[in-house]
């Protein structure tokens, strides 16, 4: 079963359009949603959660349309938004009391284990938390009711490298259960490259690509050549290029490039930057 299916999703407002997005996230997998500010990542996530209404298209979460019984579906979803919006006067202990009256499967033991693991104080008010600590509480809440799908919008922002690594391990561990899945958006592409099975690039409301990470890394490479050599290649094979006085670097489809040319491996971050620049 797919954890998430998005078909033809479109949403226009205030001069921005999210155009005809199609995504499939299978269970047991992690999908990274990559895009610059304003690319449409948060809009996509809010549409998935039915916080805003799309103009057209459909969204299916764990086999159920998100326009039907979304309340019940949300019992199976753990969410961290880019801003964890607990009222400033609440403590982690009070959040627990609220959440055990919110989720049917809220698990106090799991929550306490996460508070301990992430070093979150129980009686300090939320307003006295650092941004990283707020995120950690948001993550603990999102994972303590036995969700099947985690939706994380910039959830690793504000975390120091050590905690970020720990949290990424938690997400990877989460998908060891094949009925679980994670959709995560982040600016920190290296984080996504580390844990994601699928990568989706969003740029100015358009989905540039959505593919298995390993396929992308196999399929694409960085070609180092001259401008003349590049002009001789099939333009369809070139997904982005950067010209300088020293030559040209281009993201190319390896199988469409004649053998013998100088192609080096590409990282997901390089692939995204080149493609985003090309799409401008």
């Amino acid at each position: 079963m797919n954890a998430l299916e998005i078909k033809g999703l479109t949403k226009s407002y205030g001069g921005f359009t999210l155009e005809h997005i199609n995504l499939v996230l299978p269970c047991g997998c992690i999908m990274g949603l990559i895009g610059e500010n304003g690319a449409g990542k948060s809009t996509t996530i809010r549409l998935i959660l039915d916080m805003i209404r799309g103009d057209s298209g459909s969204i299916t979460i764990l086999g159920k349309d998100n326009q039907d019984e979304m309340r019940a579906t949300k019992e199976d979803i753990g969410v961290v938004l880019d801003e964890v919006g607990f009222p400033e006067c609440l403590t982690a202990r009070q959040v627990h009391n609220i959440m055990r009256n919110t989720y049917q499967r809220w698990d106090e033991n799991v929550y306490i284990a996460y508070l301990n693991k992430l070093d979150i104080p129980r009686d300090r008010e939320f307003k006295d938390f650092s941004r990283g600590m707020k995120m950690k509480l948001g993550i603990a809440v999102a994972m303590s009711h036995h969700p099947k799908l985690l939706i994380l919008d910039e959830a690793t922002n504000g975390l120091d490298p050590v905690v970020r690594d720990e949290v990424l391990d938690m997400f990877s561990e989460f998908t060891r259960d094949e009925t679980h899945a994670v959709l995560i958006s982040s600016h920190i592409v290296s984080d996504l490259e580390k844990i994601c099975d699928y990568i989706a690039f969003l740029h100015k409301g358009k989905l540039l690509l959505c593919e298995e990470k390993d396929v992308l890394l196999e399929q694409y490479g960085i070609l180092h050549c001259t401008a003349e050599q590049l002009r001789e290649l099939n333009p369809a094979a070139i997904r982005g290029k950067k010209e300088s006085a020293y030559g040209v670097e281009a993201i190319v489809q390896r199988d469409a490039i004649p053998p013998g040319m100088n192609i080096s491996p590409v990282s997901i971050e390089e692939l995204f930057v080149f493609m985003a620049k090309e799409a401008k």
């Binding site: 801003e83 009222p87 006067c89 609440l90 009256n101 919110t102 989720y103």
Partner: protein, 210 residues
């Protein structure tokens, strides 16, 4: 919905203690004074508290974050009306106690006026929040606050004027002249206003994109 009510309870205990203290002071003041303003102030406060809670929700972005949890728009709206009714109940309960004390201290025991006042209070107390909440749910607290202040000024002005008039007019006498039909009519109107406002707020909030 219990979780949302509990959250608002925690917030009210933190942010609305001042209102509670002022309400108690004004209620005690109404024992010794004869001002209608002091009498109606606790009820007026009940309408302020849920709007303040929404303001804090917006400040912390809880109004967005709540979309992550298994609650419907109707539940989010309903909680604010339930909170209104709870605080209105507390306010009216307080008035009931202090007015009973006032009657016994002054020796002017008039149960007819007493119950007439208590019967009309829910309808009067519901007017400000029932006007404010749909506006706040439609436009947010910042824009809704303009309407909010206009309503508060109008209500305070009215009660202030009534308070000034009470130097010459005995409230008890005034109320005893009111026909018995007015009490169920006021309660009915209050109920109608509540249902209409509740549904309008839900309708408006479901269509609002935050």
């Amino acid at each position: 919905m219990k979780g949302l009510i509990l959250k608002d309870f925690y917030m009210a205990m933190k942010y609305c203690r001042v209102y509670l203290a002022i309400t108690i002071i004004f209620a005690i003041a109404s024992i010794y004074g004869n001002s209608t303003f002091f009498l109606f102030y606790p009820v007026l406060m009940a309408g302020i508290i849920p709007v303040n809670l929404i303001s804090y929700d917006e400040k912390s972005k809880w109004n967005v974050y709540v979309g992550a949890f298994p609650y419907t728009h109707r539940e989010f709206v309903s909680v604010k009306y339930i909170v209104t009714l709870i605080f209105l109940g507390i306010g009216i309960g307080l008035i009931a106690i202090v007015q009973a004390i006032h009657m016994f201290i002054s020796g002017d025991v008039d149960w007819n006026s007493y119950f007439t006042i208590l019967s009309i209070l829910p309808a009067l107390g519901l007017i400000p929040p029932c006007i404010l909440l749909p506006t706040v749910f439609k436009f947010g607290v910042e824009k809704g606050r303009i309407v909010y202040f206009a309503v508060i000024l109008a209500v305070c002005g009215t009660f202030g004027a009534l308070g000034a008039l009470s130097l010459d007019i005995n409230t008890g006498q005034l109320l005893s002249n009111i026909g018995s039909w007015l009490i169920p009519a006021a309660l009915g109107l209050g109920g109608l206003l509540l249902v209409a406002s509740w549904n309008l707020s839900t309708y408006l909030y479901q269509r609002r994109e935050i």
